[in-house]
Symmetry: C2
Subunit: 336 residues, 2 copies
C-alpha cells in the first residue's frame, strides 16, 4: 500500500509502538470520518479452502486501503496550531494519499514530498485531496530527507510509516473483526511497514489470546520475516511486484510489537509471486473485488496453509485494492 514501506527509513530513535488502550481511544476519531468496513463470509472461498473464510474489506475505504485509519487518527490528535503548521510526509503514492485524505477531512495542511518521476496519477490523486506535492530528489529516501528537514525547520511534524498514532488507528479494524466474529480462530494479515500486523496481533490477542495471527510476505521481499526470526531488523532483497508488502528494512517499533511474546504474531508465511497473482484472480472471480497483490497475500497464504486451517474460522485481511490497470489486466488474463 504505502510507498514508504519500500524504503530503508528506520529512525535511530526508539519510536514507541501503541497500546490496546490507544486503539480503543482511536475509535472515536476514526468513525468521525470513516465507515467501519464489512466482514463478509464467502461460501465460494470457504469451499475452495475447506475452512470458514471471512474477508475483512479494508479495500472498501474511499482511498482503497486500511492505512487511512491511521492517518485520520493521527490528524485528529493535533492541536489547531499543529493543523495549521501542517504535516510533512514522504511517499511514492499510497501513504501520501492516505495522509492527504486525513488532512482533508480534519482540516490539516499536508505536504507530501515525492521523488521526481513519481506516478502522475498518484500525484494527481494526492493533489485532488488538497495536499501540497513537492518533488524532491531522485528516490524515496531523498524525498524523505527533504520532508524531515522541512518539517524540522518549520516546527511541523514529519510522519513516518509506523508512528504510534498510525498503528493505533489501523488497530480499529481488528476491534471490528473481534466484535463481528468473537469466535474467530485465525487472522491472516499482510506485512508492509508492519502497522497492520502489529495492530492485528495486539488487538486480537488482548481480547482473546487463543486467536492465531499469521503474517504474510512475499518470498521475494522477506525482510520482516527474517527480522521476526532474528528478533532484530535484518535487511533483505526486495523484488516482489506487490509494492504494498515490499519492505527493505523493518521498522523497529512495529517489529517489537510483532515479536512480542504475548501479543505478537504466531506464524509468518512467505508466498510466491505466482501465488499472489492467483489469489488476486480468485478475489476477482469469486467476490468481484479488486485486490492489490499485497491485499491478496492472505488468501494466497490460506491456500498454502489449507491443511492446517481445515474447518477453522479464518479472517483474511483484504488490506487494499490500489493496483494499476496494467497489473489488473495481467491478473484477468491469467487463466485460473
Amino acid at each position: 500500500m504505502s510507498a514508504s514501506t519500500a524504503t530503508s527509513y528506520n529512525p535511530a530513535d526508539q519510536m514507541p509502538g501503541c497500546t490496546f488502550a490507544d486503539v480503543e481511544t482511536a475509535r472515536e476519531s476514526v468513525y468521525r470520518h470513516l465507515y467501519p468496513t464489512p466482514l463478509h463470509e464467502y461460501a465460494a472461498l470457504s469451499e475452495l479452502i475447506g475452512a470458514q473464510i471471512y474477508v475483512k474489506h479494508e479495500n472498501h475505504h474511499a482511498v482503497g486501503a486500511f492505512k487511512v485509519r491511521g492517518g485520520v487518527n493521527l490528524s485528529s490528535t493535533l492541536s489547531d496550531h499543529e493543523r495549521e503548521v501542517g504535516l510533512y510526509t514522504a511517499s511514492t503514492g499510497n501513504h501520501g494519499q492516505s495522509i492527504a485524505f486525513a488532512g482533508k477531512v480534519t482540516g490539516t495542511r499536508v505536504c507530501v514530498a515525492m521523488p521526481d518521476g513519481a506516478n502522475p496519477s498518484k500525484v494527481a490523486a494526492i493533489r485532488r485531496l488538497g495536499a501540497e506535492v513537492v518533488f524532491q530528489g531522485g528516490d524515496f529516501d531523498e524525498a524523505r530527507e527533504w520532508a524531515q528537514s522541512a518539517a524540522a525547520s518549520g516546527g511541523a511534524r514529519f510522519i513516518g510509516p509506523t508512528d504510534p498514532e498510525l498503528i493505533a488507528g489501523v488497530g480499529t479494524y481488528t476491534l471490528e473483526i473481534m466484535e463481528s466474529l468473537p469466535d474467530v480462530e485465525v487472522i491472516i494479515v499482510p506485512v508492509g511497514a508492519g502497522s497492520g500486523a502489529a495492530s492485528v496481533s495486539l488487538v486480537a490477542k488482548t481480547i482473546n489470546p487463543k486467536v492465531r495471527v499469521i503474517a504474510v510476505q512475499a518470498e521475494r521481499a522477506p525482510a520482516i520475516h527474517r527480522s521476526w526470526k532474528a528478533g532484530r531488523p535484518v535487511e533483505a532483497e526486495m523484488e516482489t511486484a506487490a509494492e504494498g508488502i515490499a519492505t527493505r528494512v523493518a521498522q523497529e517499533n512495529a517489529l517489537r510489537m510483532i515479536c512480542h511474546s504475548k501479543t505478537g504474531i504466531d506464524d509468518f508465511v512467505l508466498v510466491s509471486e505466482d501465488e499472489l497473482v492467483d489469489a488476486a484472480r480468485l478475489y476477482l472471480e469469486h467476490i468481484r473485488n479488486v485486490a492489490e497483490l499485497a491485499g491478496a497475500a492472505p488468501l494466497a497464504a490460506a491456500i498454502r496453509y489449507r491443511d492446517q486451517l481445515a474447518g477453522a474460522k479464518v479472517v483474511l485481511v483484504l488490506s487494499g485494492g490500489n493496483i494499476s490497470m496494467e497489473k489488473l489486466r495481467g491478473i484477468i488474463d491469467r487463466d485460473a
Copy 2:
C-alpha cells in the same frame, strides 16, 4: 441484477407498491443481517464530471448487489411456519442468489427454479447458500410458471421481482443516502425491475421533495422508459448487454411508484452500450471497484448530463458488481 427483470412476468392482480413507513420498518430486519453501505465522495469522478460526485456502494454487499436488502426484509416478515414451508422464486441467477442469501440468514427454506442450461457458476452460488435449485423448462418464463404452481400447491409463497417487501427493503439504502448527505441534490439510479428507482424516489422525495431523481436504462432496452412516458406498461426490445437493466415489460406496482406525481422520478435517460462500458471502465480505473454494466449506468448518465449537473451534489447508485470475467476482460481491454 436480477434475471427476473429479463422477463415478461407481470401479474394480472394489482400488487401494491410500498410506503415510506414500510421502508422505515424494514431497517430493523435489514441491519440484523446486512451492513449499511458506504457513500464515498470521489475527487477524480467529481473532476471528470464537474460536479460533486458521491457513489453509493451497493456493490459492497456480500452477494454483490442491492437486491439482497429486499430479500432479507421479506424473509424477516415470515412466520415460523412460513419459513419452514419456504419461498419459491424463479431466476437465471442474481435474484435467486439474493433470495437464497436471505433464506440462509433468516433460516427460511428457499427453492429457486432455473431454466435448463442456467449459468453453472450462478447455480453453484445459489446452492452454496443452501437453497434448492430445480431445473424447470427451457426459459425463464417456464421456470417461473413451475415455481408459481409449486408454491401454490404447497401453500408456499412465490416471490416476484417487485413484491412490496422487496421494494421496502431496497428503500433502506436511500434512507442511508439521505442521512449521510442531507443536502444531496440529484440521485441517479438504474432501472431493472424497478424496485431501486421506485424506492429511491419515494424515500428521497418524502424526506426532501427538492431532490431530483434521474432513472437510467439502456437505449437497447427502453421498456420502462417508454412505459414511464406512456404512463402504462409498454413492451420494448431488450438487447442490452447490461442484464441488470434488461427489462421487457414493466412491473405495474413499481411503475406506478415511478410515475407518481409527487414521489415519482423527475427524469429518465437512456445510454448506449458504449457509454455503459466506458463508465464501468472509469469505475475500475478511478475507484478500483468492479461495476456490472447496470451498476455503471448512473455514471454513464452523469457523463451524458454533465452540463445540467454542473456544480451539483450528485449521488450515483452503484447497484451491483456481478459481472462475468469475460465481460470484465472486455472492459479492461477497452482503451479509456
